[in-house]
Symmetry: D2
Subunit: 141 residues, 4 copies
Amino acid sequence: MSDAPRLSLADLAARIARNPFNVWLGAQIESASVTGVCVRVPWRDELYGNASVKAIHGGVLGCLIDTCGSYSVIAQTGETVLTVDYRVDLHRSTGGKALLARGEIVKHGRTLSVVDVRVVDADGELVASGRVVVMNVARKP
Amino acid sequence: MSDAPRLSLADLAARIARNPFNVWLGAQIESASVTGVCVRVPWRDELYGNASVKAIHGGVLGCLIDTCGSYSVIAQTGETVLTVDYRVDLHRSTGGKALLARGEIVKHGRTLSVVDVRVVDADGELVASGRVVVMNVARKP
Amino acid sequence: MSDAPRLSLADLAARIARNPFNVWLGAQIESASVTGVCVRVPWRDELYGNASVKAIHGGVLGCLIDTCGSYSVIAQTGETVLTVDYRVDLHRSTGGKALLARGEIVKHGRTLSVVDVRVVDADGELVASGRVVVMNVARKP
Amino acid sequence: MSDAPRLSLADLAARIARNPFNVWLGAQIESASVTGVCVRVPWRDELYGNASVKAIHGGVLGCLIDTCGSYSVIAQTGETVLTVDYRVDLHRSTGGKALLARGEIVKHGRTLSVVDVRVVDADGELVASGRVVVMNVARKP
């Protein structure tokens, strides 16, 4: 890989703006490098999975991991991807705080790419981590 | 296990109604047995991950798998659970259709339980499947 | 799929006989259908992971899951596969007994196939389960 | 955590010597720190999964990942662990070369710990990676 990803932050912002679920989440790509991207999600109360203990729904953390893993690869190729599978481990309860996911490409292959993702909350606590496998597909014009 | 889960559908409806993200999704538990529960999610356009190809966001399918796996165990115990980890495999693109997740408890242990989940769309097509590991915890009074 | 897998048990036996690790394990394909294969592994004491508590090494159960998932697909295609990823959940300690893995194809795609596998010991107890994702590749002549 | 793991390399060597499958593999713990251990496995021809293309059996890489993840936690606690689940991603074919697995503890909890593992071959190529979840259990005297 070269020293900059193929897509700029403006390119990536335009891409993610066409993704309705990520728009609802408010997901924004904060930075991008040849090793992956960082995605920020602000808090909104619909993200609670358990309102009485003020804990985020674990599925939302998976959404963020899938998004961060996918865009980590899209940033490099400018093409699109299909998620093949992903794994999510939940490490600590959080809620009421913005979330930041950081992707790290483990293997960027011709057909498949594998990305590790760690999610911290606004206090810097590791709340979840996981791995996404995507298939690289040429973008429809 | 006995021949009926500990919680009734009314109990489960009351539980899921306190889960803001699932309320937003419109997730409802349609049936419950000693082997797991079925969860239905109606379509809403914010679930698209890619509006131009009309495909659901893969993270939403993970939300449904996490929810179905968790409630499959909650239905048996009446207690609560913490998701430890989950895996999602995406098999086919879908969009614009209701989704139905069916959980099947693989192992119901004292500390940890493992549940397989398959998700079909309203056409009956298998769109995703996965596995959820939950930790059983006594419910706070 | 038709009502029989492409490869016969004799074909599969010839294939697995060229796999040195499976020969060492003594893995044999006991049955094959269009939904997957069953693989049997006899006990040998080198499989212990912890000799003092007489428990099998968890990695060996993963070997069996990977093998069963891979041959479940090979049986259908007659081609070869590359394992992309697999997941293993360990449900119960076992040791000193033969093991039987049963594969069930969840999704048989053109490029990727997904197979669920359950492993029981000779007492019929579920000791492990998991999932294998393989990439279908044309067999080198 | 302090600046050294609880168990020394000699302690760890004594532990792994009571593990028959790891003895068969020839697995040795080369280094240990508060973030995990490195495990080395020399080559032996029984590790081939496909002798004609000289490729290691993917299950063997999972054995090494499970072992490295487990001992990464054992080194810290001096207790024992039970593997709950693990995931393996295969990145590149290898064969005929020693393997080195490096564990990195992602989360060390009271009940459960999560460890990422990367495996390189003697040429330094990344051949596999994965994640192990273990349950910490007090060691039987």
